[in-house]
Amino acid sequence: MIDIKNLRASVDDKEILKGLNLKIGKGEVHAIMGPNGSGKSTLSYVLSGKEGYNVSGEIQFNKKNLLELNAEERAREGIFLAFQYPIEIPGVFTNNFLRTSLNSVRKANGKVELNAIDFLKIIKEKAKELNIGEEMLLRPLNVGFSGGEKKRNEILQMSLLEPSFVVMDETDSGLDIDALKIVSNGVNSLRDPERSFLIITHYQRLLNYIKPDFVHVLSEGKIVKTGDWKLALDLEDQGYGQFIN
């Protein structure tokens, strides 16, 4: 699905990703753990096409050179980023934003755009599964949402857009245990042999609910260790110190 080779990214003169290699197959769930400042969010932005980085290396996505596509083209190809800090857009109702988003992706993929009525049916059902009240859909996007609401709204968008590759950046931070379960259920119900996940987290607890196939440790812009889900338990016990000189 995605093959990242010797990925380097810098801002101004500061190098953040320093030669990162990672291969994720179809249907696989990978977790990336790492201390603050190790470059996890930067990786998520570089994968999804945020501008402002000097990038070198290769990223192959379904045989395409991802680095040649801009952010919206990547989104339309099926890449989805659940943001660590979802952005507020005043005056734009969540409903309206989600429909605009879904329709631009559908249009790019040669599907008919949904009218307001058909869209409402779909969104209401999905919102219910994620325990999102309808009144939240009528509020401006992320404005005044609690931390938990913002994260659930990200998962709602994911389940609406049905992407083929999902990057989740610390979606679990700031969630209480109930919200964590709801979010994990949302993710698990989307697990599919055709869909891959890259889950960025600080804590092992999320991985109790969403069991990854592989766990990687990111330190100073490089993957320094890879293992199965038991690696996450190790990290929980012993911290990152053992991998960082």
Partner: protein, 483 residues
């Protein structure tokens, strides 16, 4: 590195302006320049009664001792008033068309291109249209239906002939003839525009609207609109404006007067999309307009909503004189400037009566090298006990070569009044744009969505039929502002 801060790319072409075509028809023009003869000529073309001609001539005399104001922020090269034409009419209309079917097919096509059907069978549901082409009104639809309930909706020229008592009573009663240079100029040479009278107790059952189209070159457009809502009546009125693309600047100096008597309400909406000039700032309309409403009766209300996206320079302050006790004035404005456009706009709320209330919501959006100024006056007079005003002025910057300014003037002479003012300035952030694009929207769709969100409160005030159009216009006028 192309991140959102480094905006300002080319406005694709001047040709993005969809209404920029010219209609090829034969016209009658007056001799160039401003003179008594020209005033006589216009009045004669309109078959006006003597009193109307005298009124114009008086304005012409006053004008001789007046000076063009220059306190506004956007400066412009001196206009040579002797180098302009003051009248242009399609030749085919010298004998007024008897019915809508008699309209010159070329003109009819123009309106069809603009999406404004004139033939009643093809009408927009429930909207009566008056169409003004250069200096004359070419068609007013739905007249008969409105006549049945006593609503008068016709061109101002027709009104001077058919309803002289109303025109004489109210014309110049809100904007005095010698108010200021452009108002006086308009009083002398105004060409056409709409007249509306709503009788007591009548709620006008359809939107009334006028479309102004400047076609001829080197021609000023000086329209005049007068709307009177008699006791207990209601009317919603909308004006739209477009012009061809031309290299030279064209002057548009209209006067609009509204009068609301006891318990009456007038809702006046404008979607102004005059040609803004090309991306280098050549050409475009000078939109110097005087709009003023008098809430003359108790419990009356006047609400201005404007969406200003066009013109090279927009200079206007739709205002309310709140004379009647408990009367209300509202001003909702979106002003978008891109490339080298300039706007200096806002409102005046003059509180004279007791418990008068006013509300001002202004959203200024500036992109490219444009400059956008909100200028507003809230004036509370000594007798306006219990008056209240709420003002909110928000500016949104797209890029870092544009400017936004907020200049609120407050004069308070009554200690029982309450005045609230809020102002914010923000920028479209790279993070907002990226978030939208990550969800599949392209750059322009993202800007349009964010800006529409910013303007929502104002756009919501527009009649439903026009709100969707206005949203699209917001997107189109900002095309190319981010790159």
């Amino acid at each position: 590195m192309s991140n959102g801060q480094e905006f300002i790319k080319n406005y694709k072409q001047g040709s993005d302006y969809a209404h920029g075509f010219v209609t090829d028809i034969e016209t009658i023009d007056v001799p160039k320049g401003l003179s008594k003869e020209v005033v006589h000529f216009i009045s004669k073309q309109k078959k006006e009664p003597q009193w109307m001609l005298n009124w114009r001539l008086k304005a012409f005399d006053r004008l001789q001792s007046m000076k063009e104001p220059d306190w506004q922020k956007p400066k412009y090269p001196k206009i040579n008033y002797q180098d302009l034409y003051y009248y242009s009419a399609p030749k085919s209309l010298t004998d007024q068309p008897k019915s809508l079917d008699d309209i010159d097919p070329e003109i009819r096509k123009t309106y069809e291109k603009l999406g404004i059907p004139l033939l009643e069978q093809k009408k927009l549901a429930g909207i009566a249209v008056d169409a003004v082409f250069d200096s004359v009104s070419v068609a007013t639809t739905f007249k008969d239906k409105l006549n049945e309930i006593g609503v008068i909706f016709c061109s101002i020229s027709e009104a001077t002939r058919e309803h002289p008592e109303l025109v004489q009573k109210y014309l110049g009663s809100v904007i005095p003839m010698s108010d200021h240079f452009f108002a006086t100029l308009n009083s002398a040479v105004f060409t056409d525009g709409s007249f509306v009278y709503i009788p007591p107790g009548v709620r006008c059952p359809m939107e009334l609207s006028t479309y102004f189209r400047i076609n001829a070159s080197n021609t000023g457009q000086f329209e005049r609109t007068l709307i009177i809502a008699d006791k207990g009546s209601y009317v919603s009125y909308l004006e739209g404006c477009t012009a061809p693309m031309r290299d030279e600047n064209q002057l548009h100096a209209a006067n609009v007067e509204l009068v609301a008597l006891d318990d009456a309400e007038i809702k006046y909406s404008t979607v102004q999309n005059w040609y803004p000039g090309d991306k280098e700032g050549n050409g475009g309309i000078y939109n110097f307009v005087t709009k003023r409403g008098a809430c003359r009766g108790k419990n009356s209300k006047i609400s201005w909503t404007q969406v200003e996206t066009g013109s090279a320079i927009t200079w206007k302050y739709p205002s309310c004189i709140l004379q009647g006790d408990n009367s209300q004035g509202e001003f909702y404005s979106v002003a978008i400037t891109n490339n080298y456009q300039k706007a200096d706009t806002g409102t005046k709320m003059i509180h004279l009566g007791k418990n008068t209330r006013s509300k001002i919501i202004s959203k200024g959006i500036s992109a490219g090298h444009a400059d956008n100024t909100y200028r507003g006056l809230v004036s509370i007079h000594p007798k306006a006990t219990g008056a209240k005003n709420y003002t909110q002025c928000d500016s949104l910057l797209v890029g870092n070569k544009c400017g936004a300014h907020t200049i609120p003037y407050i004069e308070n002479k009554n200690s029982t009044s309450e005045i609230e003012h809020e102002a914010t300035t923000s920028k479209i952030s790279d993070d907002q744009l990226f978030y939208c694009r990550q969800r599949g929207l392209n750059q322009e769709e993202s800007v349009s969505l964010i800006v529409n969100g910013f303007c929502k409160e104002v756009l919501q005030q527009l009649p439903m039929e026009f709100a969707v159009e206005a949203q699209k216009l917001v997107g189109i006028s900002l095309e190319g502002s981010v790159g």
